[in-house]
Symmetry: D2
Subunit: 269 residues, 4 copies
C-alpha cells in the first residue's frame, strides 16, 4: 500500500493561477431556480424573503472569504469581486470558485429558516459558478453595470408580466404575447395606465438589486464597569469601530456611486 | 440603461472546456475541518456520524448531477469521477467543480440533523474543490488507489495516536513524538501489544473509506389493485428495478474490485 | 537600474504544461502559401520540389528536437507527434510549438536552394502552428487518418481541377463549376474518360502524403585500415547501424501500417 | 476514406484566446545560441553583424504581422508588444507565438548573407518563444524595463569579462573568479583603471539594446514626368509620407521616452 507508487497522479493537476493585477469576479447562479421558486412558492415577481436570504449568504461569503471588495446581487445570482492585488490561495481559480459557491450554498440552507418561517426547505439547492478576469477598473465597472442593467430590464418585464397575469387575469402565454416587442416606455405606460403603478416608485431593491460593501460602523454597547474609587458598578457606553458588510440598493452605473466610495476600487486595494 | 453597451464584458470569460476522452475527477475537501470537527465535538479518530453524513451528501451529488461513474470518500474529502465520454455542460471545468461543491455543501447542512441528532450545527461549513483529468483508465485507477492508500496511512496513524492520547494519557505532543519515524509495522505492534487491538479488525469504513457505485436493485412494494372480474381489491407485490447509489467499504487498489464491476470504467461509458 | 525592481513581471507568465500521458501533436501550415506558391511558380497541382523541401525541413525538425515519434505531411502542412511520455521542456506547450515552427521555417530558407535550383526565394515565408493533445492512441491514429483523408480529398479534387484548366482550357471558375457537387466516383470518371488518367496510378506521394518515421539503417562505409602483420593498408567495409528519419508514402488509415511498425506508438514510448 | 468519420479529433483543440484588453508580449530567444555564436565566430562580447541581423528580422516581423506597437531586443532575444485592443487571429496565443518565431527564423536565414558576408551559415538555427499578458500599461513598461536592465547588467559583465580574457590573458574561469561578487561600480572601476575604458562611452546599442517603433518618414523620390504643354520630360521631386519601423538605442526605463512617444501605448491603440 505504498502511497508513493501512486503519487505521480498529482502531476496531472493543472495550474489555474489567475493573471496578476486583474480584478477577479466570481458569479454564481441558482441551479434550476425556476423550479425551486415554484416548489417553494416564491412570491412573483419578487420574493423579499428569497432576496434577503441571498444577501445574507453573500454577506457570509464576504466575511468568511478574503479580499472581496464588493458584491452585487439580483434575482438568483450574486457576483463577488476580489481585489486585483489579492494573493488569496495564490490566485488559483478553482479555489476562488469553489469556496464562494460552497460557502454560499451551505449558508443558503443554514439561514433558510430565518427568512422562510412558514415554508420548509424541500431539498438542498445547487449553484453554478464561473470566474472572469477584468484587466482594467473600467472593465470591472462595466461588468457591474451590465448586471445592474440586466436587473432593470428583467424586473421591468417581470413587473408588467405578473401584473397582467395576477391582476388582469391573462394566462402566461397571453401576457408574453402582449409584451412581445414592447420597449421600456411601453411597459412603463402599461403599468401606469392599466395598473396605476409608477415603476419608479417600485422598491429600490427590486429595481437596482443589492450592492454589498464594507463600511466602518460605530457600535455602541453598554458595559458595567467598576471605576477606581467608586464602590458601585456603573453603566458606561463603549463605542467600537467595526467593519461590516452593508447592503445598498443604489445605482452603480453612473459615476456618483464610485465617487462616493473611491476606496472600493482604489488602485492599491 | 442599454444593456448592450456593457455586453462586451462577456468576451472576457475564458473557455475552460476539459479535454475530451479523459476521465474528469472533482475532489472536494472540507475547509478548516480541523476546527470544524473540534467545535462540533467529532469523535476521534473517526466519527461515524460525520462519515455517514459525508456519504449522504456524496450520494445526493451523484443523483442530482449527471455522468458520475464512481465516487470515493474518506475523512473530510470526496472524489467524484465523471465518465470520460461525458458531455455534461459541454465539459466546462467550472460547471463540474461548482455544481459538485455547492450541491455537497447545501446537502451537508440539509442532512446534518439526520446524523447529528444532539449536536447543533454552529455555522455553515465551506468546501474547496479542484478538477483533474486522467487520460487513461490506469491513471484513474492509480488516482483512486492514491486516495485509498492515503486513507490507510492516515487512519493507522490516527488510530494509534488517539489510543496513546485517550487510553495512555499522553499529550498530543508526546503521542506525536512517540510515533515519529515509526513504520506501519511498528504502529500495528503498538496497537496490538499496548491496546490489544488488531488493526485489521478495525471497521472497514475507517480503513478503506467509502466507495459509491451505481447498482441495480429490486424494490418490492405492495400495491392494492382491483383486478377485472373481482369485486374486492387485492394486495399484490410489485417488483421494480431501480438504479441506486450504493456505498461499499472494500479495497479498490487491487484488481479484484475492477474485475467484479467491469461496467464502472467500461470504455463506452 | 536595479533589475529586481521589475522582476515581478515574470509572475505574469502562465503555466502551459501539457497534460501528462497524452500524445502531443504540433501541426504547422504555411502562411499565405497560396500567394507564395504563385509567386514562386509552384507546379500545379503538385510541385515535387516544394513537397520534398517540406519533407527535408520536417526531417530536420525530427532530428534537432526531441521525442518526436512520427510526422505526417501533405501540401503545405506537417504534423509532428511527440511521445506521450515525453518530458521535453517539462511539456510546456509554447516550447513545443515555437521550436517546431522556428526550426521548420529556418530550414525552409536554408534548404530552399537544394530543391529550387532555378527559382530564387523572394522573401522569407511564415508558418502558423497549433498544439493538440490526444489522450488515447486511437484518437491519435484518427487524427493522422483525418489528415491523410484530407490529403486524398484535396489531391483528387486538385488533380481533376488542374486537368480541366491545363488540358481542357477551362477557366478556374468554369472548372470549379464543373466539379461542384461531384462525388469521388465522378471525379475518377472525368479523369479516366476525358484525360485517360487512372487516379490510382498517380504518384503515392501526391495521394498519400509523406509519413516520417525513425528506422535503423545499416550504413556501409569503406575504411582504410592497416591490419597487424600486414605492411599495406587495406580497404575494409564497415557496417554501422544508425537511426534515420525515413519518408514513406503509404496508407496509415488502415491497420496494416501500425501492425508493421508497432514500436512507433508503443505504450512505453 | 470518409474524412467526416475522423473529424471529431478537431474537438480536442483547446481554445487559447488571450484575455481582452491586455498587452500581449511575445518574447523569442535563440536556441543554443552560445554554441551557435561560437561556431559562427561571433565577435565577443558584442557582434555588430549578429545584432543588426536580429534587428532586421524583428523589423520584418513587425512589417509582416499585424498590431505590433513596439519591439525591444538585446543579445539573442527580441520582445514584440501587440496592441492591447488587437483582435488579430481572434487573439489566439498559438497564432501570435508561431507567426512571430517562424517569421523571425526564416528571416534570419534569408538575411544572413546581408550581414555575414564572409561567414557562411552552417545550419538553420532554432528559436524559442513564449507569450505573456500585461493588464496595465505600467506592467508593460516594467516588463520592457526589466529586459533593458537585464541588457545593462549582462553587457557590463560581458564587457569586463572579455577584456580580462582578450587583453589580460585570463582564462574564462579566472575571469569569472575575478568578477565573482563584484558590484556594478567595481566593474566600471576595472574597466577604467585596467583598460582605460569609460563604460558610458561604449556604444549605445550594446548598453541599451534596440527599440523598434513605427515612425512617419518623408521619402523624397525623383520622378520623370511630362507636364502638359511641355515637350520634354522633367525631373520632379515627390515627397511621400510612409510609416517605417525605426531602430532606436535609448533608455526606456525612465519617463522621458514614453513622454516623447505617447502614441505608442495610447489607450486607444
Amino acid at each position: 500500500m505504498a502511497k508513493s507508487k501512486f503519487e505521480y497522479v498529482r502531476d496531472f493537476e493543472a495550474d489555474d493561477t489567475c493573471l496578476p493585477n486583474c480584478w477577479i469576479v466570481v458569479r454564481l447562479d441558482g441551479r434550476n431556480f425556476h423550479r425551486f421558486a415554484e416548489q417553494h412558492e416564491f412570491k412573483k415577481p419578487n420574493d423579499d424573503r428569497a432576496l434577503h436570504l441571498m444577501t445574507r449568504c453573500a454577506q457570509t461569503v464576504m466575511q468568511e472569504l478574503e479580499d472581496i471588495a464588493i458584491a452585487y446581487g439580483q434575482s438568483d445570482e450574486y457576483s463577488f469581486v476580489f481585489k486585483r492585488k489579492s494573493k488569496w490561495f495564490k490566485r488559483r481559480a478553482s479555489k476562488f470558485m469553489t469556496h464562494v459557491v460552497s460557502q454560499f450554498a451551505s449558508s443558503y440552507v443554514f439561514y433558510w429558516k430565518d427568512y422562510f418561517k412558514d415554508q420548509q426547505l424541500l431539498y438542498p439547492p445547487g449553484f453554478d459558478g464561473r470566474i472572469v478576469l477584468y484587466p482594467s477598473t473600467q472593465n470591472l465597472k462595466d461588468y457591474l453595470s451590465w448586471r445592474q442593467a440586466d436587473c432593470h430590464i428583467n424586473n421591468l418585464y417581470n413587473t408588467v408580466f405578473w401584473m397582467l397575469v395576477q391582476r388582469s387575469g391573462l394566462t402566461p402565454v397571453q401576457a408574453q404575447d402582449r409584451l412581445q416587442g414592447t420597449l421600456a416606455g411601453d411597459k412603463n405606460e402599461i403599468l401606469f395606465s392599466e395598473f396605476n403603478i409608477n415603476y419608479n416608485n417600485e422598491p429600490l431593491m427590486y429595481r437596482k438589486g443589492t450592492v454589498l460593501i464594507w463600511q466602518k460602523v460605530n457600535e455602541v454597547t453598554t458595559k458595567k464597569i467598576k471605576l477606581p474609587k467608586e464602590t458601585e458598578e456603573q453603566e458606561i457606553e463603549v463605542t467600537r469601530t467595526r467593519t461590516k458588510v452593508v447592503p445598498l440598493h443604489c445605482d452603480i452605473i453612473g459615476d456618483q456611486f464610485w465617487e462616493e466610495y473611491p476606496e472600493i476600487l482604489a488602485e492599491d486595494s
